[in-house]
């Protein structure tokens, strides 16, 4: 932990939090000052690497292969997003590996683009989460007929609308404004996907009344509601009961 950074966060030059008046603390605020306090406290009970650290059981890498635990707090929400992006990416990779018969060049181009976007999202979360990332999920796409346009595009529509609703419902569960912005950067792209797929299925249904309510607001869902739908396609058991609920 970088204790040497402590002086930097007190603009009056003081390196001792006790010398900082409460007023200054509030003025200089929030994140950096409190982080410094957190750092100062860390040294008293640093337990990194201890084999019996109480949270070891929550380490996703310790879980059985067919079960993952999303974890808690912002990490849990990011793992939740990572799980959904894994689902979408796996689906489009399979779609684009052998297109349904009669797929137009435009449909192929859109589905390949969407595949690449979902891979980018998946790999972003994997990289950003580092050793807190859940492992790879196992999927069950047996209910999808990949040779059928209606089945593929119908599933794509369901996944994209589900993704939009998931991010719209997860934003308020995040504590970090930086993570919130990242979720915002992704959700609008999922909404673009949803609109594009809907227009392929039924031109003009990009924002139909089945997803946009009478106040002009899009769907949102809580993680448990999203996962109960997504679980129809996911073999891996996802433990989500430590996710924040408000």
């Amino acid at each position: 932990m970088a204790e040497k950074k402590l002086p930097d966060v007190y603009p009056d030059g003081s390196s001792d939090p006790k010398q900082v008046s409460r007023r200054k603390f509030l003025n200089y605020a929030g994140l950096s000052a409190v982080t410094a306090v957190a750092l100062a406290s860390c040294k008293k009970d640093f337990r990194g690497g201890e084999p019996n650290a109480p949270f070891a059981q929550d380490d996703p890498h310790n879980m059985p292969k067919n079960t993952v635990n999303l974890g808690s707090g912002d990490i849990g929400i990011l793992n939740y997003a990572y799980a959904l992006e894994q689902l979408e990416a796996a689906f489009y990779i399979k779609v684009a590996s052998s297109f349904y018969s009669g797929a137009t060049s435009k449909e192929k181009a859109y589905l390949e683009d969407i595949r690449d976007h979902e891979i980018a999202h998946r790999e972003f979360f994997k990289t950003a989460l580092g050793n807190k990332a859940i492992g790879p999920l196992l999927f069950d796409f047996s209910s999808i007929d990949f040779s059928s346009r209606a089945s593929v595009l119908g599933t794509a529509k369901a996944f994209e609308d589900l993704g939009v609703s998931a991010y719209n419902g997860a934003g308020e569960l995040l504590q970090s404004p930086d993570y919130l912005l990242l979720a915002g950067k992704i959700v609008s792209v999922e909404a673009r996907h949803a609109a594009a797929i809907r227009d392929l299925l039924s031109y003009g249904s990009f924002a139909g009344p089945d997803v946009v309510d009478s106040n002009g607001l899009d769907v949102y869902r809580k993680p448990m509601d999203v996962l109960s739908i997504a679980n129809n396609y996911i073999e891996t058991k996802i433990i989500a009961n430590n996710l924040p609920t408000a």
Partner: protein, 285 residues
Amino acid sequence: MNLHNVITEIEKIDPEVYERLDGRREALKSLSNVGSKIALTALPFALGSLFSKAYGQSSSSQILDVLNFALTLEYLEAEFYNTGLASSGLIPAGADRNAFQVIADHENEHVQFLKTTIMALGGTPVPKPTFDYTAGNGSGMGPFAGVFTNYSLFLAVSQTFEDTGVRAYKGQAANLISSNEVLRAALRIHSVEARHAAHVREIRSRRTGDPLVVGMPQPWITLNQSNIASSAVQPSYNGEENTLQAGVQITGINGFAITSEDASEAFDEPLTKQQVLMIVDPFIV
């Protein structure tokens, strides 16, 4: 990490820390989760953001400012579509007219919803400005002169408004983080704007011979390309070419064949309030 160590340190500086946290049950609940579950490396960041919620909490006036800013943008869009639909011969009957009716309905609903929300929070909705959709600051002679007689131009301005709206809401999300209800509503409007943007882009992609269509518009934004033959819209697209997210390079990430085009398309970028106001200023008389 011992929770009490953290609180005790803070208490030396702020004797009212317990009171502050108690008043924010959600924050306290998160804190106990943080203490027991998150990796040590993630702790400073998690705690920092937790306490920025407790101490740096947006005041209700900041939230009202965001809502009134959003209301101004929704007025701009709603009147644009209302005028377009009322301009005979502008929007072709059938799919195009149906789509713009749907979009207009949503924008008018957003105006009403935001007004209602602002009043429910004890604020006063800003009045609707007078607009000049030629982007001529009231001269009626701006770069989009003829926007309600020339459908190509109408589509170009529509696409720009929708893509800009998406970026504007995205840029304000963090300012709403202290209110779950308002943040949720803003996100739910944000994704509707993205659906609109995707469809207007789709309409433009299907038009052969449209003189204002450059290249092949797609429902998503590639690099900083507007696909519109007008430099006047470029500020709405600058910055969308970003491929670096939270310090992670998306192009070629983890060995996957993700091009810079893919990487830019996969993430939409925010605009600050200042940037948005500069973009919409020519439309306001």
